[in-house]
């Protein structure tokens, strides 16, 4: 260093010229790759150890028996016992959660994620399989005319689970709709327990999009679990029957 200050000076001048201001780095090439993570991947043992106490507890909770099904219930159209059980849970728990009278509960057929809930012990994990989505149970104040349109979708799609009402399907339309034992009135405003999925226009329920949602974030799965607890506290088992809520008109 000491010996060659002139060299340092020359170098500095050289650099000053070569790197005259405004030099930038810019990306020129991109190589991409996607890795599918499977069991062949080297497992990080520290993460496995970290997760272990959580998973022991999660699995224990999932294996908890929450109730007993006295009958096997199937997912069926136009009406099935399993769907009836779910909407019974929704209409009951929505009334309790929002502290109001609820006229009707409807769910989409595709929202039932088990083909059958077998008789016998029902675990928390089973209810998670039945309702894996984190859809929220909400209320909507729906005019009879809009409810008719909404139920036409249920009819067109082969029949959906309903509670608090009965209907028939004719030419892919909902007919003979009875709510609380009375014929649907196009001008009456009904309180509908619904999923945020449908209320947001899911399954082409566009007519519901503009209707305000009353929501406290209560999950539909929690409604089912709470309903089972409620039944248990009343000494009842999990059950539902086909009772001609939705039928095909002859």
């Amino acid at each position: 260093m000491k010996k060659n200050p002139p060299f340092l000076l020359i170098a500095f001048v050289f650099i000053s010229v070569a790197f005259s201001c405004n030099t930038v780095y810019q990306s020129q090439t991109l190589q991409y790759k996607t890795y599918r993570i499977n069991s062949a991947e080297q497992q990080d043992s520290s993460l496995l150890n970290f997760l272990q106490p959580y998973s022991v507890n999660v699995n224990k909770t999932m294996n908890d028996v929450v109730g007993v099904a006295s009958v096997s219930m199937d997912k069926k159209q136009p009406e099935g016992a399993l769907g009836n059980f779910m909407v019974d849970a929704f209409i009951t728990m929505a009334a309790e959660q929002y502290n109001t009278k609820v006229d009707v509960a409807v769910m989409n057929f595709g929202g039932i994620r088990l083909t059958q809930l077998a008789s016998g012990n029902v675990t928390t994990g089973k209810i998670f399989e039945l309702m894996p989505f984190d859809n929220v149970l909400i209320l909507q104040k729906v005019k009879g005319s809009a409810l008719q349109e909404f139920l036409n979708i249920a009819a067109e799609k082969g029949g959906w689970p309903v509670a608090g009402m009965t209907m028939q399907i004719k030419d892919k339309k909902a007919v003979n709709i009875m709510i609380g034992g009375k014929p649907l009135d196009p001008n009456t405003v009904y309180t509908l327990a619904n999923s945020d999925f449908l209320a947001n226009g899911g399954d082409n329920a566009d007519m519901l999009r503009t209707i305000p949602q009353i929501s406290n974030g209560y999950l539909m799965r929690d409604a089912i679990l709470d309903y089972i607890k409620k039944l248990k506290s009343q000494g009842k088992n999990i059950s539902a029957n086909i009772e001609n809520r939705v039928t095909n008109a002859q």
Binding site: F7, Y32, I37, D44, L47, T61
Partner: protein, 312 residues
């Protein structure tokens, strides 16, 4: 002015290289391209364990232990690695129902995530819960530039952007979140103000490029890849409307892309958009090579050549 600090840094380094004994070698190193490896996930949705072996389509895939093993391997091979997540860390398995996101955030800290953005489902157990989980367990920032959390439990728990230094590179990273209306219940979104993501993204990206002097600007986005509805803002819309974003790492729509999408921004520069499905099934890897330019020699518009990485 802009590059004064960088110039001095380079000058000092070059002088050092020339003065030093094995000067030629060092000089060669100096002129060789700089590499940056970006690893990313999105919509991991509390999938801490692999999917169960139940005959389902995704059985055995995903899981934090495998993801971490892979990340560690790549980190051992590459000098400059950044690891990001594009939101919806929470919700989807009973882990979340029971622990409200604690193991998810802890695992990300453990894996050395550098930053994430916020997804709509990260609100699911309430803003107070999210704030608690981040404060207690996150050693990485949650970045979002278009949510105003003033007077909510999330106030001061996020930041709009962060600048990372990787060797000689300065990488600016920011986040954008999706509109809460109709997607996040009001009871969860609270007093959060949603601001126009395109406007905020352009503001922040401009700042990162021009004032923070970043060589690359990355947007972590939970807007969604693209939509049929023309009124919805997506990564596609953002990319085309942007000016200073180089890369958008997306989420929300759970889109599995076979390869990153290339768009042209307003100035005609390339913008890369990528997204890797959901549930931690896939880890995305993007290896960038940088060259050094004098401002005068820079092409009018910035183009990047994209290809699939072989091996590794």
């Amino acid at each position: 002015m802009l590059n004064r600090k960088r110039f001095i840094r380079q000058a000092a380094l070059s002088a050092g290289a020339i003065m030093a004994g094995p000067s030629l070698l060092k000089a060669a190193e100096y002129f060789s391209p700089l590499k940056l490896t970006i690893l990313h996930t999105n919509d991991t949705h509390s999938r801490l364990e692999p999917f169960p072996m139940d005959g389902g389509r995704n059985q055995g895939l995903g899981g934090i232990a495998g993801r971490s093993g892979l990340i560690n391997k790549i980190r051992s091979e590459e000098e400059h690695v950044l690891l990001f997540d594009a939101g919806d860390i929470f919700q989807g398995t009973p882990y979340f129902n029971i622990y409200k996101g604690e193991p998810e955030i802890k695992a990300m800290t453990n894996m050395g995530y550098d930053a994430c953005t916020i997804g709509n489902h990260d609100f699911d157990a309430g803003m107070e819960n999210l704030a608690t989980q981040l404060t207690r367990h996150a050693k990485f920032p949650m970045l979002v530039a278009n949510y105003d959390f003033t007077n909510t439990p999330m106030e001061n728990k996020t930041q709009p952007y962060k600048v990372f230094r990787k060797g000689k590179l300065k990488i600016g990273v920011f986040g954008v979140g999706i509109e809460g209306k109709g997607l996040i219940p009001d009871s969860l979104f609270g007093a959060t103000k949603y601001l126009d993501p395109v406007k905020k993204a352009n503001e922040v990206a401009d700042r990162l490029k021009k004032y923070e002097d970043c060589d690359m600007v990355i947007c972590l986005s939970h807007l969604g890849n693209k939509y049929k509805e023309s009124n919805l803002i997506s990564d596609e819309v953002l990319a085309k409307e942007s000016e200073n974003i180089d890369l958008i790492i997306g989420g929300h729509t759970h889109t599995f892309l076979d390869n990153p999408i290339e768009y042209k921004n307003k100035k005609g520069d390339d913008v890369i958009v990528n997204q890797v499905g959901f549930a931690g099934i896939i880890l995305g890897r993007l290896d960038f090579e940088f060259s050094k330019f004098s401002g005068k020699k820079l092409a009018k518009s910035h183009t990047i050549s994209v290809s699939q990485k072989t091996g590794g």
